[in-house]
Symmetry: C2
Subunit: 112 residues, 2 copies
DNA sequence: CGTGTAAGGAATTCTGACACG
DNA sequence: CGTGTAAGGAATTCTGACACG
């Protein structure tokens, strides 16, 4: 019923050069964070990496953590926790939507 | 008051190869439509073109028009009209917001 | 551990031009 | 008018490795 028709934020279309420009990180750093499983760019047929805006946001977060001296291993753990929280939030949202729909199931005939 | 903090849709970050993949158009066609002032990619320092998701949407529209046999010159005119309409719509929106704000100026103390 | 760098190769993109129609 | 293509050059990206610490 509810579609994400244009999730530009997650489309993997940006090359590493632009990502470097946008984040201020070196190619070496960007590739290394991939090696450490912090980001997951896609590849085109020829093997060049493609990143999304989400990846760029993640990289900025990573850069901040690194400046604080946090190791990639720790950052990885923290990001896993974030993902779990996010899943929980969605579960909660679904439950609320369920209640909401139940409540209005029988008297939703006028407003579109 | 209302900010577009992350207008990913208009960020010029995509190279012509990806645009070609996404639209199905050839490099030649994409560059030609720029020459005819239908799209306006940016350039990085070294001169390579960078497109936005908006540009890609425009290109798809252009491709559809071209298939119908519409010439680039006509397409250009049509797109100018679209822009004008869009401006008018915003003017209307601003007027409505003005009235809305005036109406609630004195009794907006509870709900955020 | 995290990052820099030189190395060699492969893929990308650019421009201006000739071609066809 | 709109698009294809071959041409030559410049810029981009890739991998694996050595280096420092």
């Amino acid at each position: 019923m509810s579609f994400e028709s244009t999730p530009y934020k997650d489309k993997k279309v940006i090359s590493i050069g632009i990502v470097s420009e946008l984040t201020g990180l070196s190619f070496r750093q960007i590739r290394y964070y991939e090696e450490r499983k912090l980001i997951f760019p896609e590849r085109n047929e020829k093997g060049t990496r493609r990143y999304s805006f989400s990846d760029i946001e993640k990289l900025v977060e990573i850069a901040n953590k690194r400046e604080e001296g946090v190791q990639t291993h720790e950052i990885r753990k923290e990001m896993k926790q974030e993902r779990t929280k996010s899943v929980e939030k969605n579960v909660l949202k679904d439950m609320l939507r369920g209640q909401f729909n139940a409540h209005f199931r029988n008297n939703n005939n006028n407003s579109m």
